[in-house]
Subunit: 379 residues, 2 copies
């Protein structure tokens, strides 16, 4: 087992039929969630924001193919009904079932299909590698591989699955992440841990800059492992989130390369994040990565428009360890730089020489395939 | 004549040899400029910010092929030398010559080439249609057509040329605009007029969101037409700037369609601008336009992440006049919407029902060709 089913108390099942998938994850425990900052929030997000006030979940039901976003009151009713359908199949209290959706915006859920899929997979709930993989595959949209992560310590485990071919998948199809631990932890503490981990992982991945209407990261703690050290748990949750976030970036729509940008020496961490995110989001940087073109001026120019304060002629920049600029002096050996851009990961290291702030952000290259995938989706 | 040479007191010349072009524009008068907000500013921008304090220019020299950006003190010396070379050819005071550059970042100017081109074209300075077109072509990079605009009133004229295949051309190659009027106007007034016009035109065009290191819009007033009504002049300058800005959007790198987004009913004009700019910059909206895919959920979702305050279920949205959403109700006839997206211009009209703020922004579709153009540039 390589993710959620390695965590004591978690079982899963999933089905994917054409564009339409359904996953069920059964795990009772304290729970916390973080949600999209988009002003336009999907119905399941609205329902979950309300539902997470209880701080407990017994299960989660997730569908792919329809985002149930911009669907008004009917969308809310449908999301609540989807929880009730899952609760019935699993013989649980409907209020303790979480819900998430991913797919096209502005379409209503096909509840009969969801009921049918739910009834077929509920008996298949299991705690093994096939079950967690079926769940991870059921929630995929344009993802090209299922995404698992697991950290096991001596005393507890943290496992997660996610989907997302960017901060956004094809149709604001979104990033969804489901993380489980057998540690025993109060819901408010779990929320703080998850929020911090998401800030340093999912929130530092940019595929195309379009924040989705459906983004959700949920963490449930079953408590089977008993009480654990809070710092150790926070590190494990952050490791799992970062691992999943990097998988999302690598599987960005149409991507051929992972882009990793570390910014050091910023005035503070927020500035470092702003610079790193602006660079990984720049279409000009992304196309240069795709073409293995050591056009480092685009990296410096992206930093320049990030809003961060620094002296352009104090910075140092490297790609894959090859120096391009050293304290404002151009030292680029473009041949060596081009060689450093081969392979499936391209890493930039930018030192702003303006303080102690440091952050890493992840993205991917921009290719013709991204345009192809997103040019024709609804019709 | 269709732009600058229609303005009394203006003559021009230009040459383009491979990637390397040079334009000379001769016009004495009060002058004002607006410049990039990027923290990393090219050497010619630094020189011009300083030089424009005088509020007068006798000529402008512009090269394409090298941006003279991130070139430190040597870049500044080179930009000043470029002014001196042009001044010598034109027998002018070097301090009254303006300078601008566009091309690759992090490379030094080829001053012998600039001197050679300058000496060859100075004798060709003329006031006719061929001369203004030669100047407009000399400053092109990935532009596919030269960009001219002209407004003629009973008492005065305003003409301009620009280059830019986006807020950014291939290598932060940038937007440059040169606007001339024969109206008589004080430099500070001209500056206010230009700043306001740029805010409502160039600043509302987004091709890829990468603000360049070299962006410049310069306006020179020769005074040959004598004093004019300030409001009338402001309208004419804004019309010329808007005309040029829309040409830049239509000629966005790899673009096949112009995207025009009008936002009404925002809390204020700034909110309207934020929403309109976010929509025209969204990669998902841009790819949908390319594919003529009426995926309007992406437009609403982009508005949702713009930071503007509005009730998602109060909005109305149309594409090319076809209603998609009316006060939060989905009324989309996707067949009619798809038809409205054919043709070379796609217009969205979004009413936020939250106030009186209104603004229009322009962009273009995102195509495989954009990736191709930008994937391999420096090498």
């Amino acid at each position: 087992m390589k993710s959620i089913c390695a965590v004591r108390g978690v079982s899963a099942a999933g089905i994917k039929e054409g564009k339409f998938g359904l996953a069920l994850i059964r795990a009772s425990g304290t729970a916390a969630g973080v949600f999209t900052s988009n002003k336009v929030r999907a119905a399941p997000v609205e329902v979950m924001v309300d539902r997470m006030r209880r701080g407990r979940l017994d299960a989660v039901v997730v569908n792919s193919g329809c985002a149930n976003a911009y669907t008004g009151r009917r969308g809310i009713r449908d999301a609540v009904e989807m929880c009730a359908i899952a609760a019935e199949s699993l013989e649980l209290d409907p209020d303790a079932v979480g819900v998430a959706s991913t797919g096209v915006i502005g379409r209503y859920l096909n509840l009969p299909l969801i009921r049918d899929q739910c009834e077929r997979i509920a008996p298949l709930l299991a705690r093994n590698g096939d079950a967690e993989d079926a769940a991870a595959r059921a929630i995929m949209t344009t993802d090209t591989f299922p995404k698992h992560a697991l950290v096991e310590t001596e005393s507890f485990s943290v496992g997660g699955i996610t989907k997302g071919s960017g901060m956004i998948a094809p149709n604001m199809g979104t990033m969804l992440a489901f993380i489980y631990t057998d540690a025993e932890v109060e819901a408010p503490v779990l929320h703080d841990i998850l929020r911090q981990a998401a800030r340093r992982s999912f929130n530092r991945v940019v595929v195309d800059g379009d924040t989705s209407t459906n983004d959700v990261a949920l963490c449930t703690a079953t408590g089977a492992a008993g009480k654990v050290d809070r710092g150790e748990l926070a590190r494990a949750v952050e490791d799992v989130c970062r691992n999943l976030a990097v998988q999302i970036a690598r599987d960005g729509e149409g991507a051929t390369k992972l882009l990793e940008v570390t910014v050091r020496g910023a005035a503070d961490e927020d500035s470092a994040v702003a610079v790193a995110r602006t660079i990984v989001a720049s279409p000009l940087v992304k196309t240069a990565i795709y073409g293995e073109d050591p056009n480092w001026g685009r990296v410096i120019a992206a930093a320049g428009r990030s809003g961060a304060d620094f002296d352009p002629y104090a910075v140092s920049l490297r790609v894959g360890g090859v120096p391009l600029v050293v304290r404002g002096e151009i030292v680029a050996d473009l041949g060596a730089a081009k060689t450093a851009m081969r392979g499936d990961t391209v890493s930039f290291d930018l030192d702003l020489a303006a303080g102690d702030g440091e952050a890493t952000a992840w993205g991917c290259d921009l290719t013709e395939r991204y345009v192809e995938i997103n040019g024709k989706y609804t019709t």
